[in-house]
């Protein structure tokens, strides 16, 4: 993977303080019809206390990235590469090289996760308090102060702690369950919270209110958040930076403002133009032609070339490296300088 050099330089140039440094991260599944690479040599630095949004269409490797951050890719998936976690004070930790017990402690104490299937993330025969207690107990945290902290978190999320703690999962609404799950993810005071499509099963209003709650939570608890979604307009309201995944690799990473105003990758532009907007007339909506690549058989060269209006023979032959557009705005495209040929038809507000 030659594009590694590009982003590494960019990251080292700026005086960022990464909490997670991801290098050449690959997740593969060996299948009968070949090797399926659902994450292909990904590099990314996640900065301390930032909210980074990871967007991409369905089947672009988003969820695999989330699982890999906790070294929790389900069997028989194989995770290769390097994920280095930099705790605030201690020595860096190589996440993919932890012993079983160390990994058990690392998860939830350092990096915690809110799942896509939030609505079914609770044991149906156990009350919410039981979930908090068993988590505290498993990690050797004192129960009393832990439950107090849980109550405070629930309160911050606009839930009535007493009522929610005594409830069973089926007695809570989807939005309540989602917020209870966020509280459960934060009860051990982790440094990083990974959220994989946390709002997918919720209605629009609930999505927006949870997103605004998350910003408050981040400020109050000095959290770093990784927000994974296919909903670009949603994540722009929250994220400091955005990484765009296409075909299991990052094609563009940059400040949210830069991604919105000055997207440098044709795919990012297409994604923005494809975003439904109530104000824009329907004719201006541009769905992206073609379909997402098969992880067993990714197109040669630039994976996007078959769907890209700017594609030339170069794109078919050679994979583009990550190049710096401005300071911390990186893109992997041979033709990013000509990208203005694709006009932005759709304004996405922050």
């Amino acid at each position: 993977m030659s594009k590694q050099d590009g982003i590494a330089t960019a990251a080292e140039d700026s005086d960022v303080d990464p909490i997670l440094r991801i290098r050449d991260l690959t997740v593969r599944f060996e299948m009968d019809r070949g090797t399926s690479r659902v994450l292909n040599g990904v590099d990314l630095d996640i900065r301390r206390n930032e909210i980074i949004g990871i967007v991409g269409e369905s089947g672009s490797g988003k969820s695999m990235l989330a699982s890999a951050l906790l070294d929790a890719v389900v069997a028989p998936g194989i995770t290769d590469g390097e994920i280095t976690y930099h705790p605030p004070t201690d020595e860096p930790i190589d996440v993919l090289d932890l012993s079983e017990e160390a990994r058990r402690q690392f998860r939830w104490e350092e990096i915690s996760m809110v799942f896509q299937g939030a609505l079914s993330s609770f044991n149906p025969t156990m009350d919410i308090r039981g979930h908090f207690e068993e988590t505290l107990e498993a990690h050797g945290y004192p129960i009393g102060p832990g439950i107090d902290r849980a109550a405070e978190l629930l309160n911050d999320l606009y839930l009535d702690p007493d009522r929610v703690l005594e409830s069973y999962p089926h007695e809570l609404s989807g939005g309540m369950k989602q917020r209870a799950l966020i509280a459960l993810a934060l009860v051990l005071e982790p440094e990083v919270l990974v959220m994989d499509e946390p709002t997918a099963a919720l209605d629009l209003l609930m999505q927006r209110s949870i997103v605004s709650l998350l910003a408050d939570i981040r400020d109050k608890h000095d959290l770093t958040m990784v927000f994974i979604t296919h909903d670009l307009p949603l994540v722009t309201k929250l994220a400091d930076r955005i990484g765009v995944l296409y075909a299991f690799e990052f094609v563009e990473v940059g400040e949210t403002e830069a991604i919105l105003r000055d997207p440098a990758h044709p795919y990012t532009r297409a994604l923005l133009n494809a975003t439904p907007n109530l104000d824009a007339p329907l004719e201006e909506m541009r769905p992206i032609d073609g379909s997402a690549p098969d992880p067993v058989n990714v197109p040669s060269g630039c994976a996007y070339h078959s769907r890209c209006p700017l594609a030339t023979d170069d794109c078919e032959r050679e994979q583009p490296r990550m190049e710096s557009v401005t300071g911390s705005h990186d893109v992997a495209c041979h033709h990013w300088t000509e990208v203005d040929e694709i006009p932005l038809t759709n304004e996405v507000d922050r």
Partner: protein, 342 residues
């Protein structure tokens, strides 16, 4: 909430009454007319008796006064049943209540032990099979349990009896305990008590084994299916990520949530306990409920037949009733009065 309990209770009372009514009409309407047959039999054997005496004998045995109008017969029958009088057993020469009272503990002991053992083996095997889904152990155990489960228990009984009882002479071939042993359950004479208990177990061992051999497979397959489902749930993955100990997940998550759906069928099985294993008790000449059921059938002992039938049905009805009332206690989702939301 209260309404639910009331409905269930009313349902139980209705079921029991319906069963009583059914037995009444069975006796009245069965081909051959047991009441008439009994009467004819009595007249033949006791030519000196008056018609009135004969009728009274029939009434004593069947709780039916043949010459009364049907509704009066019915009322008398139900009233006597409710007073605990099930009539007189023809074949045993004792009140049906007494026969059942002496047989029931033995059946409860043998079948109860067998169900408990089968349940424990089945649940553990099922959970193990689910944890190793697709392994050779899993497919081997699945085939074995299906095979064992599809042969009736009395076949195993006959095989055991023939090999271990008659050929090898390791186990007794019938009875509740040896005639040489004094039935002793007394803490002051522990040696005799132990000897007696040991002898009872020795007599019941083959019968219990035959039931276990058939029954565990059903529980194992049920448990396997439920556990595989629970193991694939999202909340299980989250529980693992939260770093909960394996043991905790196995018992509190997989075990509990997989056993829950089997709770009702377990209580119904316990309800069927009293019916015993009808043919099996006959094979082992083990005088329990099932043994007397067959005796009654063979000797046209209608009062005993009805009595056993009634007791079995009522126990099953009570088993279902208890399951209905207590399911909410063990599964919060089934609670009629949901804690937070109502």
């Amino acid at each position: 909430m209260r309404r639910y309990y009331f409905e269930r209770t009313a349902q139980l009372v209705f079921t029991v009454l319906a069963v009583m009514t059914l037995t009444f009409f069975l006796v009245r309407l069965l081909p051959g007319g047991p009441a008439d047959a009994l009467r004819a039999n009595l007249i033949r054997n006791n030519p000196e008796m008056t018609a009135d005496q004969i009728d009274r004998r029939v009434e004593a045995q069947l709780n039916i006064m043949p010459d009364d109008p049907l509704h009066v017969q019915y009322l008398t029958y139900i009233t006597e049943l409710l007073q605990g009088d099930m009539g007189q057993s023809l074949s045993q020469g004792a009140p049906v209540t007494d026969v059942i009272a002496s047989a029931a503990p033995w059946t409860i002991f043998t079948v109860g032990t067998a169900v408990a053992i089968a349940f424990v083996i089945g649940i553990s095997m099922g959970a193990l099979m689910a944890y190793r889904e697709g392994s050779r152990f899993d497919s081997g155990a699945t085939i074995t349990s299906v095979l064992l489960n599809s042969v009736p228990d009395y076949i195993y009984g006959i095989i055991f009896l023939w090999i271990l009882g008659y050929q090898l002479d390791i186990f007794p071939t019938g009875g509740r305990y040896s005639s040489s042993t004094e039935p002793t359950i007394n803490l002051l004479t522990p040696i005799q008590t132990l000897a007696f208990v040991g002898d009872v177990l020795w007599h019941a061992a083959l019968l219990i084994s035959a039931i276990v051999l058939v029954a565990w497979g059903g529980w194992a397959l049920g448990m396997r299916g439920n556990s595989v489902q629970v193991l694939g749930e999202d909340y299980l993955r989250v529980a693992r990520l939260r770093g909960l100990p394996q043991r905790h997940i196995a018992f509190r998550y997989v075990g509990r949530n997989a056993v829950l759906p089997m709770y009702t069928s377990m209580l119904i099985t316990i309800g069927f306990l009293l019916g015993g294993s009808i043919i099996l008790e006959q094979v082992f000449s083990y005088p329990g409920m099932g043994y007397y059921m067959i005796e009654a059938l063979e000797r046209r002992d209608y009062p005993l037949m009805m009595g056993v039938f009634l007791v079995i049905t009522i126990t099953v009805a009570i088993g279902v009733y208890v399951a209905d009332l207590t399911y909410g206690l063990i599964d919060p989702r089934a609670r009629v009065d949901g804690g937070g939301s109502s």
